[in-house]
Symmetry: C2
DNA sequence: GACCTGAAAACTGTTGACAGTTTTTGCGCC
DNA sequence: GGCGCAAAAACTGTCAACAGTTTTCAGGTC
Protein backbone atom coordinates (compact mmCIF):
# COMPACT_ATOMS: atom_id res chain seq x y z
CA UNK A 1 0.00 0.00 0.00
CA UNK A 2 2.67 2.48 0.98
CA UNK A 3 6.42 2.69 0.74
CA UNK A 4 6.96 0.70 3.89
CA UNK A 5 5.11 -2.30 2.57
CA UNK A 6 6.99 -2.00 -0.69
CA UNK A 7 10.27 -2.19 1.15
CA UNK A 8 9.42 -5.15 3.27
CA UNK A 9 8.06 -7.08 0.30
CA UNK A 10 11.29 -6.50 -1.57
CA UNK A 11 13.34 -7.55 1.40
CA UNK A 12 11.25 -10.65 1.88
CA UNK A 13 11.89 -11.72 -1.68
CA UNK A 14 15.58 -11.28 -1.13
CA UNK A 15 15.34 -13.18 2.11
CA UNK A 16 13.47 -16.05 0.53
CA UNK A 17 15.99 -16.31 -2.24
CA UNK A 18 18.80 -16.57 0.24
CA UNK A 19 16.96 -19.00 2.48
CA UNK A 20 18.22 -22.52 2.96
CA UNK A 21 21.66 -21.00 3.44
CA UNK A 22 20.77 -18.36 5.97
CA UNK A 23 18.12 -18.18 8.60
CA UNK A 24 16.04 -15.06 9.15
CA UNK A 25 17.76 -14.54 12.48
CA UNK A 26 21.18 -14.45 10.86
CA UNK A 27 20.00 -12.05 8.16
CA UNK A 28 18.57 -9.79 10.83
CA UNK A 29 21.79 -10.00 12.80
CA UNK A 30 23.79 -8.88 9.78
CA UNK A 31 21.42 -6.04 9.10
CA UNK A 32 21.58 -4.87 12.71
CA UNK A 33 25.35 -5.14 12.66
CA UNK A 34 25.43 -2.96 9.59
CA UNK A 35 23.11 -0.43 11.17
CA UNK A 36 25.24 -0.27 14.27
CA UNK A 37 28.63 -0.07 12.60
CA UNK A 38 27.38 2.45 10.06
CA UNK A 39 26.06 4.66 12.82
CA UNK A 40 22.44 4.37 11.76
CA UNK A 41 21.92 3.07 15.26
CA UNK A 42 23.90 4.95 17.86
CA UNK A 43 25.38 3.97 21.18
CA UNK A 44 22.66 3.96 23.79
CA UNK A 45 19.78 3.51 21.35
CA UNK A 46 17.23 0.91 22.25
CA UNK A 47 16.35 -1.77 19.71
CA UNK A 48 12.58 -1.85 19.68
CA UNK A 49 11.66 -5.44 18.85
CA UNK A 50 8.20 -4.82 17.41
CA UNK A 51 9.33 -1.80 15.41
CA UNK A 52 12.29 -3.71 13.99
CA UNK A 53 10.07 -6.68 13.23
CA UNK A 54 7.66 -4.47 11.26
CA UNK A 55 10.49 -2.68 9.52
CA UNK A 56 12.24 -5.85 8.40
CA UNK A 57 9.05 -7.75 7.67
CA UNK A 58 9.60 -10.59 10.13
CA UNK A 59 8.19 -11.57 13.49
CA UNK A 60 9.83 -10.86 16.83
CA UNK A 61 11.35 -14.32 17.18
CA UNK A 62 14.19 -13.88 14.71
CA UNK A 63 14.77 -10.36 16.01
CA UNK A 64 15.25 -11.66 19.51
CA UNK A 65 17.56 -14.42 18.35
CA UNK A 66 19.63 -11.89 16.46
CA UNK A 67 19.89 -9.71 19.55
CA UNK A 68 21.24 -12.62 21.63
CA UNK A 69 23.96 -13.07 19.05
CA UNK A 70 24.81 -9.38 19.10
CA UNK A 71 24.88 -9.45 22.88
CA UNK A 72 27.52 -12.15 22.85
CA UNK A 73 29.65 -10.21 20.39
CA UNK A 74 29.26 -7.22 22.70
CA UNK A 75 27.64 -4.86 20.24
CA UNK A 76 24.52 -4.56 22.38
CA UNK A 77 23.59 -4.93 26.01
CA UNK A 78 20.40 -6.64 27.14
CA UNK A 79 18.57 -5.47 30.24
CA UNK A 80 15.82 -7.74 31.50
CA UNK A 81 12.34 -6.40 30.88
CA UNK A 82 13.74 -3.17 29.50
CA UNK A 83 15.19 -4.17 26.19
CA UNK A 84 18.44 -4.34 24.29
CA UNK A 85 20.59 -1.26 23.86
CA UNK A 86 23.45 -0.46 21.54
CA UNK A 87 26.49 -0.57 23.77
CA UNK A 88 28.22 2.55 24.99
CA UNK A 89 31.98 2.36 24.85
CA UNK A 90 33.90 4.49 27.29
CA UNK A 91 37.33 5.90 26.56
CA UNK A 92 38.76 3.38 29.00
CA UNK A 93 37.01 0.54 27.14
CA UNK A 94 38.47 1.78 23.89
CA UNK A 95 41.97 1.94 25.33
CA UNK A 96 41.58 -1.56 26.75
CA UNK A 97 40.51 -2.83 23.36
CA UNK A 98 43.55 -1.21 21.75
CA UNK A 99 45.81 -3.16 24.11
CA UNK A 100 44.19 -6.46 23.27
CA UNK A 101 44.09 -5.67 19.59
CA UNK A 102 47.75 -4.79 19.55
CA UNK A 103 48.67 -8.14 21.05
CA UNK A 104 46.56 -9.95 18.48
CA UNK A 105 48.10 -7.97 15.68
CA UNK A 106 51.50 -8.97 17.03
CA UNK A 107 50.64 -12.66 16.83
CA UNK A 108 49.42 -12.14 13.30
CA UNK A 109 52.80 -10.67 12.39
CA UNK A 110 54.76 -13.45 14.01
CA UNK A 111 52.71 -16.15 12.31
CA UNK A 112 52.50 -14.43 8.99
CA UNK A 113 56.22 -13.76 8.62
CA UNK A 114 56.83 -17.50 8.56
CA UNK A 115 54.29 -18.33 5.90
CA UNK A 116 53.61 -15.31 3.73
CA UNK A 117 53.42 -16.01 -0.01
CA UNK A 118 54.53 -13.82 -2.93
CA UNK A 119 50.94 -13.11 -4.05
CA UNK A 120 50.07 -12.05 -0.52
CA UNK A 121 53.08 -9.76 -0.43
CA UNK A 122 51.96 -8.31 -3.73
CA UNK A 123 48.47 -7.66 -2.40
CA UNK A 124 49.79 -5.91 0.68
CA UNK A 125 52.28 -3.95 -1.36
CA UNK A 126 49.48 -2.82 -3.64
CA UNK A 127 47.51 -1.54 -0.68
CA UNK A 128 50.44 0.39 0.72
CA UNK A 129 51.04 2.02 -2.65
CA UNK A 130 47.37 2.85 -3.00
CA UNK A 131 47.43 4.48 0.42
CA UNK A 132 50.47 6.47 -0.57
CA UNK A 133 48.66 7.68 -3.67
CA UNK A 134 45.60 8.55 -1.60
CA UNK A 135 47.88 11.09 0.08
CA UNK A 136 45.71 13.01 2.47
CA UNK A 137 42.34 12.16 0.97
CA UNK A 138 40.90 10.56 4.05
CA UNK A 139 37.87 9.10 2.32
CA UNK A 140 40.10 7.16 -0.03
CA UNK A 141 42.69 6.32 2.60
CA UNK A 142 40.46 4.98 5.34
CA UNK A 143 38.94 1.90 3.64
CA UNK A 144 42.35 0.95 2.26
CA UNK A 145 43.76 1.18 5.75
CA UNK A 146 41.03 -1.04 7.16
CA UNK A 147 41.58 -3.53 4.37
CA UNK A 148 45.34 -3.61 4.90
CA UNK A 149 44.94 -4.43 8.57
CA UNK A 150 42.28 -7.04 7.87
CA UNK A 151 44.45 -8.72 5.24
CA UNK A 152 47.42 -8.90 7.57
CA UNK A 153 45.31 -10.81 10.05
CA UNK A 154 43.58 -13.02 7.50
CA UNK A 155 46.81 -14.03 5.83
CA UNK A 156 48.05 -15.35 9.16
CA UNK A 157 45.83 -18.36 8.57
CA UNK A 158 44.79 -18.49 12.21
CA UNK A 159 41.01 -18.70 11.98
CA UNK A 160 40.38 -17.96 15.62
CA UNK A 161 42.66 -14.94 15.49
CA UNK A 162 40.68 -13.58 12.56
CA UNK A 163 37.31 -13.80 14.29
CA UNK A 164 38.62 -12.42 17.57
CA UNK A 165 40.33 -9.52 15.87
CA UNK A 166 37.28 -8.73 13.77
CA UNK A 167 35.06 -8.73 16.81
CA UNK A 168 37.33 -6.26 18.59
CA UNK A 169 37.62 -4.02 15.56
CA UNK A 170 33.87 -3.97 15.21
CA UNK A 171 33.40 -3.15 18.85
CA UNK A 172 35.78 -0.25 18.46
CA UNK A 173 33.45 1.16 15.85
CA UNK A 174 31.03 1.85 18.69
CA UNK A 175 33.40 4.44 20.04
CA UNK A 176 31.91 7.82 19.41
CA UNK A 177 34.92 9.65 18.09
CA UNK A 178 35.23 8.57 14.49
CA UNK A 179 37.80 11.21 13.74
CA UNK A 180 40.61 9.24 15.26
CA UNK A 181 42.69 9.55 12.14
CA UNK A 182 44.05 13.03 11.90
CA UNK A 183 45.45 14.13 8.57
CA UNK A 184 49.06 14.41 9.61
CA UNK A 185 49.06 10.89 10.95
CA UNK A 186 48.30 9.28 7.63
CA UNK A 187 51.77 9.74 6.24
CA UNK A 188 53.34 8.54 9.48
CA UNK A 189 50.99 5.58 9.57
CA UNK A 190 51.80 4.52 6.04
CA UNK A 191 55.49 4.70 6.79
CA UNK A 192 54.79 2.12 9.47
CA UNK A 193 52.77 0.04 7.02
CA UNK A 194 55.75 -0.02 4.69
CA UNK A 195 58.15 -1.03 7.45
CA UNK A 196 55.84 -3.91 8.38
CA UNK A 197 55.72 -5.02 4.79
CA UNK A 198 59.51 -5.05 4.60
CA UNK A 199 59.87 -7.12 7.75
CA UNK A 200 57.36 -9.61 6.38
CA UNK A 201 59.16 -9.77 3.03
CA UNK A 202 62.35 -10.61 4.88
CA UNK A 203 60.47 -13.17 6.97
CA UNK A 204 61.72 -11.47 10.10
CA UNK A 205 59.08 -12.71 12.55
CA UNK A 206 60.32 -10.88 15.62
CA UNK A 207 60.57 -7.57 13.82
CA UNK A 208 57.22 -7.91 12.08
CA UNK A 209 55.56 -8.79 15.35
CA UNK A 210 57.06 -5.83 17.18
CA UNK A 211 56.29 -3.38 14.41
CA UNK A 212 52.72 -4.52 14.14
CA UNK A 213 52.15 -4.40 17.86
CA UNK A 214 53.57 -0.93 18.03
CA UNK A 215 51.59 0.21 15.04
CA UNK A 216 48.36 -0.40 16.92
CA UNK A 217 49.75 1.11 20.09
CA UNK A 218 50.60 4.21 18.08
CA UNK A 219 46.92 4.43 17.20
CA UNK A 220 46.08 4.15 20.86
CA UNK A 221 48.48 6.96 21.68
CA UNK A 222 46.96 9.17 18.99
CA UNK A 223 43.53 8.59 20.45
CA UNK A 224 44.78 9.35 23.93
CA UNK A 225 46.48 12.54 22.82
CA UNK A 226 43.43 13.64 20.90
CA UNK A 227 41.10 13.25 23.86
CA UNK A 228 43.55 14.95 26.17
CA UNK A 229 43.93 18.03 24.02
CA UNK A 230 40.19 18.04 23.57
CA UNK A 231 39.51 17.90 27.26
CA UNK A 232 42.10 20.55 27.97
CA UNK A 233 41.17 23.22 25.45
CA UNK A 234 38.91 23.49 22.44
CA UNK A 235 35.23 22.63 22.51
CA UNK A 236 34.44 19.10 21.39
CA UNK A 237 33.88 18.77 17.63
CA UNK A 238 30.13 18.14 17.68
CA UNK A 239 28.64 19.15 20.99
CA UNK A 240 25.18 19.73 19.54
CA UNK A 241 23.35 16.41 19.15
CA UNK A 242 24.69 15.05 22.40
CA UNK A 243 21.88 13.35 24.25
CA UNK A 244 19.64 12.95 21.27
CA UNK A 245 17.76 9.89 22.54
CA UNK A 246 14.37 8.77 21.50
CA UNK A 247 15.85 8.16 18.09
CA UNK A 248 14.63 4.60 18.33
CA UNK A 249 14.04 2.50 15.31
CA UNK A 250 10.31 2.94 15.55
CA UNK A 251 9.33 5.43 12.85
CA UNK A 252 9.79 3.55 9.56
CA UNK B 1 4.26 -37.66 38.18
CA UNK B 2 7.70 -39.06 37.52
CA UNK B 3 11.24 -38.00 38.20
CA UNK B 4 11.44 -35.86 35.12
CA UNK B 5 8.54 -33.67 36.16
CA UNK B 6 9.98 -33.44 39.64
CA UNK B 7 13.20 -32.10 38.23
CA UNK B 8 11.66 -29.54 35.97
CA UNK B 9 9.37 -28.27 38.72
CA UNK B 10 12.37 -27.75 40.97
CA UNK B 11 14.28 -25.99 38.28
CA UNK B 12 11.32 -23.78 37.49
CA UNK B 13 11.12 -22.68 41.10
CA UNK B 14 14.78 -21.81 41.01
CA UNK B 15 14.27 -19.99 37.76
CA UNK B 16 11.34 -18.00 39.07
CA UNK B 17 13.27 -16.98 42.14
CA UNK B 18 16.10 -15.68 40.00
CA UNK B 19 13.82 -13.95 37.53
CA UNK B 20 13.88 -10.21 37.11
CA UNK B 21 17.67 -10.49 37.07
CA UNK B 22 18.01 -13.22 34.51
CA UNK B 23 15.92 -14.22 31.57
CA UNK B 24 15.10 -17.84 30.82
CA UNK B 25 17.28 -17.68 27.76
CA UNK B 26 20.31 -16.65 29.79
CA UNK B 27 19.67 -19.37 32.36
CA UNK B 28 19.43 -21.92 29.59
CA UNK B 29 22.61 -20.60 28.04
CA UNK B 30 24.48 -21.05 31.29
CA UNK B 31 23.12 -24.53 31.74
CA UNK B 32 24.12 -25.51 28.22
CA UNK B 33 27.55 -23.98 28.73
CA UNK B 34 27.96 -26.08 31.84
CA UNK B 35 26.84 -29.21 30.03
CA UNK B 36 29.29 -28.58 27.22
CA UNK B 37 32.30 -27.68 29.31
CA UNK B 38 31.66 -30.52 31.73
CA UNK B 39 31.52 -32.97 28.87
CA UNK B 40 27.90 -33.95 29.47
CA UNK B 41 27.43 -32.82 25.91
CA UNK B 42 30.23 -33.87 23.62
CA UNK B 43 31.69 -32.39 20.50
CA UNK B 44 29.48 -33.24 17.55
CA UNK B 45 26.33 -33.82 19.60
CA UNK B 46 23.20 -32.19 18.32
CA UNK B 47 21.16 -30.03 20.66
CA UNK B 48 17.62 -31.22 20.21
CA UNK B 49 15.44 -28.17 20.84
CA UNK B 50 12.24 -29.95 21.85
CA UNK B 51 14.04 -32.45 24.05
CA UNK B 52 15.99 -29.70 25.78
CA UNK B 53 12.82 -27.65 26.20
CA UNK B 54 11.08 -30.58 27.89
CA UNK B 55 14.09 -31.37 30.01
CA UNK B 56 14.51 -27.82 31.26
CA UNK B 57 10.82 -27.12 31.55
CA UNK B 58 10.68 -24.20 29.12
CA UNK B 59 9.48 -23.67 25.58
CA UNK B 60 11.67 -23.70 22.51
CA UNK B 61 11.97 -19.93 22.28
CA UNK B 62 14.45 -19.45 25.10
CA UNK B 63 16.35 -22.55 23.96
CA UNK B 64 16.80 -21.07 20.51
CA UNK B 65 17.89 -17.72 21.90
CA UNK B 66 20.44 -19.46 24.09
CA UNK B 67 21.79 -21.35 21.10
CA UNK B 68 22.33 -18.13 19.16
CA UNK B 69 24.41 -16.84 22.03
CA UNK B 70 26.45 -20.03 22.18
CA UNK B 71 26.95 -19.86 18.43
CA UNK B 72 28.51 -16.44 18.75
CA UNK B 73 30.85 -17.60 21.50
CA UNK B 74 31.77 -20.50 19.23
CA UNK B 75 30.73 -23.32 21.51
CA UNK B 76 28.19 -24.59 19.00
CA UNK B 77 27.66 -24.47 15.27
CA UNK B 78 24.27 -23.92 13.70
CA UNK B 79 23.35 -25.56 10.41
CA UNK B 80 20.18 -24.30 8.79
CA UNK B 81 17.29 -26.72 8.99
CA UNK B 82 19.48 -29.35 10.59
CA UNK B 83 20.10 -27.99 14.03
CA UNK B 84 22.84 -26.79 16.33
CA UNK B 85 25.81 -29.00 17.10
CA UNK B 86 28.47 -28.84 19.78
CA UNK B 87 31.55 -27.67 17.95
CA UNK B 88 34.34 -30.01 17.03
CA UNK B 89 37.78 -28.58 17.64
CA UNK B 90 40.60 -29.90 15.52
CA UNK B 91 44.18 -30.09 16.73
CA UNK B 92 44.98 -27.19 14.42
CA UNK B 93 42.17 -25.14 15.97
CA UNK B 94 43.52 -25.89 19.43
CA UNK B 95 47.04 -24.85 18.43
CA UNK B 96 45.68 -21.65 16.90
CA UNK B 97 43.83 -20.88 20.10
CA UNK B 98 47.00 -21.42 22.12
CA UNK B 99 48.76 -18.80 20.02
CA UNK B 100 46.05 -16.24 20.58
CA UNK B 101 45.75 -17.09 24.24
CA UNK B 102 49.46 -16.72 24.76
CA UNK B 103 49.39 -13.22 23.31
CA UNK B 104 46.50 -12.26 25.56
CA UNK B 105 48.24 -13.67 28.58
CA UNK B 106 51.25 -11.58 27.63
CA UNK B 107 49.20 -8.40 27.63
CA UNK B 108 47.79 -9.36 30.99
CA UNK B 109 51.33 -9.63 32.36
CA UNK B 110 52.44 -6.34 30.94
CA UNK B 111 49.42 -4.50 32.30
CA UNK B 112 49.38 -6.27 35.62
CA UNK B 113 53.04 -5.66 36.46
CA UNK B 114 52.38 -1.95 36.51
CA UNK B 115 49.36 -2.04 38.79
CA UNK B 116 49.45 -5.16 40.94
CA UNK B 117 48.58 -4.62 44.61
CA UNK B 118 49.97 -6.40 47.69
CA UNK B 119 46.71 -8.29 48.36
CA UNK B 120 46.70 -9.50 44.78
CA UNK B 121 50.28 -10.66 45.11
CA UNK B 122 49.29 -12.47 48.27
CA UNK B 123 46.41 -14.21 46.55
CA UNK B 124 48.61 -15.36 43.70
CA UNK B 125 51.34 -16.43 46.07
CA UNK B 126 48.80 -18.47 48.02
CA UNK B 127 47.76 -20.27 44.87
CA UNK B 128 51.32 -21.08 43.89
CA UNK B 129 52.00 -22.51 47.35
CA UNK B 130 48.79 -24.52 47.25
CA UNK B 131 49.83 -25.95 43.91
CA UNK B 132 53.21 -26.85 45.32
CA UNK B 133 51.51 -28.66 48.21
CA UNK B 134 49.19 -30.44 45.78
CA UNK B 135 52.39 -32.03 44.47
CA UNK B 136 51.29 -34.51 41.85
CA UNK B 137 47.68 -34.87 42.89
CA UNK B 138 46.20 -33.77 39.62
CA UNK B 139 42.65 -33.44 40.91
CA UNK B 140 43.80 -30.92 43.49
CA UNK B 141 46.28 -29.21 41.19
CA UNK B 142 44.09 -28.63 38.16
CA UNK B 143 41.44 -26.27 39.58
CA UNK B 144 44.13 -24.26 41.36
CA UNK B 145 45.97 -23.95 38.09
CA UNK B 146 42.86 -22.73 36.30
CA UNK B 147 42.19 -20.27 39.07
CA UNK B 148 45.74 -18.94 39.02
CA UNK B 149 45.57 -18.22 35.31
CA UNK B 150 42.13 -16.65 35.61
CA UNK B 151 43.27 -14.40 38.44
CA UNK B 152 46.27 -13.20 36.50
CA UNK B 153 43.98 -12.05 33.74
CA UNK B 154 41.30 -10.59 36.00
CA UNK B 155 43.79 -8.59 38.05
CA UNK B 156 44.94 -6.87 34.87
CA UNK B 157 41.77 -4.78 35.10
CA UNK B 158 41.22 -4.93 31.35
CA UNK B 159 37.58 -6.00 31.09
CA UNK B 160 37.71 -6.81 27.42
CA UNK B 161 40.82 -8.90 27.93
CA UNK B 162 39.04 -10.92 30.59
CA UNK B 163 36.05 -11.79 28.45
CA UNK B 164 38.13 -12.58 25.39
CA UNK B 165 40.49 -14.79 27.36
CA UNK B 166 37.63 -16.59 29.07
CA UNK B 167 35.94 -17.27 25.78
CA UNK B 168 39.10 -18.81 24.36
CA UNK B 169 39.74 -20.89 27.45
CA UNK B 170 36.21 -22.20 27.31
CA UNK B 171 36.51 -23.05 23.66
CA UNK B 172 39.66 -24.99 24.42
CA UNK B 173 37.60 -27.17 26.74
CA UNK B 174 35.95 -28.56 23.64
CA UNK B 175 39.20 -30.18 22.64
CA UNK B 176 38.83 -33.87 23.18
CA UNK B 177 42.12 -34.64 24.87
CA UNK B 178 41.64 -33.55 28.45
CA UNK B 179 44.83 -35.22 29.59
CA UNK B 180 46.96 -32.39 28.38
CA UNK B 181 48.61 -32.06 31.76
CA UNK B 182 50.99 -34.93 32.28
CA UNK B 183 52.21 -35.52 35.79
CA UNK B 184 55.82 -34.59 35.24
CA UNK B 185 54.81 -31.24 33.80
CA UNK B 186 53.14 -30.04 36.97
CA UNK B 187 56.37 -29.35 38.79
CA UNK B 188 57.83 -27.65 35.75
CA UNK B 189 54.66 -25.64 35.31
CA UNK B 190 54.62 -24.43 38.89
CA UNK B 191 58.23 -23.36 38.61
CA UNK B 192 57.06 -21.11 35.79
CA UNK B 193 54.19 -19.87 37.93
CA UNK B 194 56.65 -18.85 40.62
CA UNK B 195 58.89 -17.07 38.14
CA UNK B 196 55.91 -15.10 36.86
CA UNK B 197 54.99 -14.17 40.39
CA UNK B 198 58.49 -12.88 41.05
CA UNK B 199 58.53 -10.76 37.92
CA UNK B 200 55.20 -9.26 38.92
CA UNK B 201 56.39 -8.58 42.44
CA UNK B 202 59.35 -6.69 41.01
CA UNK B 203 57.00 -4.86 38.65
CA UNK B 204 59.12 -5.98 35.73
CA UNK B 205 56.55 -5.63 32.95
CA UNK B 206 58.71 -6.88 30.10
CA UNK B 207 59.80 -9.96 31.98
CA UNK B 208 56.34 -10.79 33.28
CA UNK B 209 54.91 -10.45 29.82
CA UNK B 210 57.53 -12.69 28.26
CA UNK B 211 57.27 -15.33 30.95
CA UNK B 212 53.51 -15.43 30.75
CA UNK B 213 53.49 -15.66 26.99
CA UNK B 214 56.01 -18.46 27.08
CA UNK B 215 54.14 -20.25 29.82
CA UNK B 216 51.16 -20.72 27.55
CA UNK B 217 53.36 -21.61 24.60
CA UNK B 218 54.93 -24.31 26.78
CA UNK B 219 51.45 -25.75 27.19
CA UNK B 220 51.05 -25.68 23.44
CA UNK B 221 54.33 -27.52 22.99
CA UNK B 222 53.29 -30.16 25.51
CA UNK B 223 50.08 -30.74 23.61
CA UNK B 224 51.95 -30.95 20.34
CA UNK B 225 54.46 -33.42 21.72
CA UNK B 226 51.72 -35.51 23.27
CA UNK B 227 49.81 -35.86 20.03
CA UNK B 228 52.94 -36.60 18.08
CA UNK B 229 54.05 -39.43 20.32
CA UNK B 230 50.49 -40.67 20.30
CA UNK B 231 50.31 -40.68 16.56
CA UNK B 232 53.69 -42.33 16.26
CA UNK B 233 53.39 -45.18 18.69
CA UNK B 234 51.00 -46.25 21.43
CA UNK B 235 47.30 -46.66 20.85
CA UNK B 236 45.26 -43.62 21.78
CA UNK B 237 44.13 -43.60 25.43
CA UNK B 238 40.45 -44.27 24.85
CA UNK B 239 39.83 -45.63 21.37
CA UNK B 240 36.60 -47.35 22.36
CA UNK B 241 33.76 -44.84 22.44
CA UNK B 242 34.98 -43.05 19.35
CA UNK B 243 32.04 -42.30 17.14
CA UNK B 244 29.42 -42.73 19.80
CA UNK B 245 26.84 -40.44 18.22
CA UNK B 246 23.16 -40.54 18.77
CA UNK B 247 23.88 -39.55 22.35
CA UNK B 248 21.56 -36.62 21.88
CA UNK B 249 19.91 -34.89 24.74
CA UNK B 250 16.61 -36.56 24.07
CA UNK B 251 16.21 -39.34 26.65
CA UNK B 252 15.68 -37.60 29.97
C1' DG C 1 21.39 -58.98 0.59
C1' DA C 2 21.91 -54.25 -1.61
C1' DC C 3 19.34 -50.57 -3.41
C1' DC C 4 15.92 -47.38 -4.74
C1' DT C 5 11.45 -45.05 -3.41
C1' DG C 6 7.94 -42.78 -1.24
C1' DA C 7 5.22 -42.15 2.91
C1' DA C 8 5.59 -41.18 7.88
C1' DA C 9 7.95 -39.27 11.75
C1' DA C 10 10.94 -35.93 13.75
C1' DC C 11 12.68 -31.62 13.86
C1' DT C 12 13.72 -26.74 12.76
C1' DG C 13 12.01 -21.98 11.32
C1' DT C 14 8.58 -18.72 12.05
C1' DT C 15 4.54 -16.69 13.59
C1' DG C 16 0.75 -14.71 16.47
C1' DA C 17 -1.13 -14.43 20.98
C1' DC C 18 -1.02 -13.93 26.01
C1' DA C 19 1.07 -12.60 30.58
C1' DG C 20 3.62 -9.58 33.27
C1' DT C 21 6.58 -5.42 33.60
C1' DT C 22 7.98 -0.80 32.49
C1' DT C 23 6.99 3.64 30.69
C1' DT C 24 3.89 7.19 29.47
C1' DT C 25 -0.12 9.93 30.08
C1' DG C 26 -3.76 12.41 32.16
C1' DC C 27 -5.53 14.41 36.40
C1' DG C 28 -6.10 16.30 40.76
C1' DC C 29 -3.55 18.83 44.33
C1' DC C 30 -0.25 21.90 46.35
C1' DG D 1 4.06 25.66 37.23
C1' DG D 2 5.61 21.50 39.85
C1' DC D 3 4.43 17.04 42.00
C1' DG D 4 2.59 12.68 43.20
C1' DC D 5 -0.56 9.01 41.52
C1' DA D 6 -3.38 5.85 39.16
C1' DA D 7 -4.96 4.22 34.61
C1' DA D 8 -3.49 3.28 29.98
C1' DA D 9 -0.23 2.35 26.49
C1' DA D 10 3.94 0.20 25.06
C1' DC D 11 7.01 -3.27 25.35
C1' DT D 12 9.48 -7.52 26.71
C1' DG D 13 9.28 -12.58 28.05
C1' DT D 14 7.23 -16.81 27.03
C1' DC D 15 4.49 -20.09 24.90
C1' DA D 16 1.86 -23.08 21.72
C1' DA D 17 0.74 -23.94 17.02
C1' DC D 18 1.70 -24.17 12.04
C1' DA D 19 4.64 -24.63 7.84
C1' DG D 20 8.37 -26.50 5.52
C1' DT D 21 12.56 -29.43 5.58
C1' DT D 22 15.29 -33.37 6.84
C1' DT D 23 15.60 -37.97 8.48
C1' DT D 24 13.81 -42.48 9.17
C1' DC D 25 11.76 -46.57 7.74
C1' DA D 26 8.86 -49.96 5.46
C1' DG D 27 8.11 -52.12 1.13
C1' DG D 28 9.13 -53.32 -3.37
C1' DT D 29 12.82 -54.43 -6.99
C1' DC D 30 16.95 -56.24 -8.84
Amino acid sequence: MNEVYGNTALEMVTALRIRRTETLASLVRKELERMIVSGELRAGDRLNESALADRLGVSRGPIREACRGLEQSRLVEVVVNRGTFVRQISLQDALDIYDVRSALFGVAGETLAARITPPQLATLSGLVEAMARAADDIDAYYPLNVDYHAKLVEFSGNARLVTTYRSLAQELHLFRRQGLVSEGSMAVSNREHRAILEALAQRDAARASTLMREHILAGKKRLLKLTESERAGAASPAPDSQRRRKRLVAGT
